[in-house]
Symmetry: C2
Amino acid sequence: MASIAPDVLLSALRWRYAVKRFDPARTVPEETWAALEDALVLTASSTGLQPWRFVVVTNPALKEQLRPAAYGQAQVADCSHFLVMTVRRNLGEDHVDAHVSRMSEVRGITVESLGKFRAMVTGNLDRARAEGRLDMWQTHQIYIALGNFMTAAALLGVDTCPMEGFNPDKVDEILGLGDTGFGSVVCCAAGYRAPDDKYATIPKVRFPKESLVERR
Amino acid sequence: MASIAPDVLLSALRWRYAVKRFDPARTVPEETWAALEDALVLTASSTGLQPWRFVVVTNPALKEQLRPAAYGQAQVADCSHFLVMTVRRNLGEDHVDAHVSRMSEVRGITVESLGKFRAMVTGNLDRARAEGRLDMWQTHQIYIALGNFMTAAALLGVDTCPMEGFNPDKVDEILGLGDTGFGSVVCCAAGYRAPDDKYATIPKVRFPKESLVERR
């Protein structure tokens, strides 16, 4: 596998910041965006369940409609692609069956041969449900996708702004997610920073490495 | 900013898989590992709070000690670097003050000038605490770090295996985290796949893109 130099990775991560002002005139090219969608699809998740759906909003009218649901933040309307990351609530056996069926198809093996895997996954979900942590657990997973997406975007030269500051119920309503079983958890605006976004140049704030990383 | 080609990103993400068998004879070179630690430090988090500490275990005896706490999974002992990702519980004003103080230091501005920011962040934490979702919210953040880490590692040619299957209380006890306020949430073994890991070559299972991504 061809890998990249550590400096290339780190310069992209240092270049990344939470964009305050996007350049509304610039659009992420289709080829680049398609790669970012592929990156989302390739995200790892617990036992591979992919408990999510990603809604990509580029329609200007719909972005304007979503903006008040995000407390008026300009990034929603000014970005190129507004990504709404949704998680499936109360994940159940139908989802596990869909996953097992897909596994059987992709790997050319029988569904029956996956019986032990199915039982293990279903047992995990049942236990989490009984302990009242099923939705929380699956919600954790989509933050893996968010981390992957922001890093992937930075490496492709695309700016982002992750957003938890929005009203999920309103976003779900605007997107008509009501009956789908999916609910919005976190969003990420993507596009290109405006030349006058002053947040682009102020120093990134991180605690010293020695206080965040401990070797044993 | 120098970006990479979409193909380079996607081939790394396709190459990545949850390693079942690490090659115990291979170690991630110091320069590569240091870059991955830098990538962790650069991870984005809600209002920049970085509510985490990363414990990197390379000591063979300590890895062996941790293995039973992860239900005997061989990856804990056979990997090169075992990363325990911990989150600070009940995040409070002392942490916000540390962040504001660091912000003032890095950006060369007064702590007083950050008063509005401090009040906003403290208000967010207080609300989350009152609603019983403070620890869950901060825990979400570390999954951003996990997503970033796995993608960063793949791009540097380092294999990983994310792990939720462990007993956090036992891991915390072994690492002596008791009084630190930090608790383990998720782990990630890193190193190099064994030549005979059959999971390296079986096809990756993902739902079709059109069922995971919806454009509006």
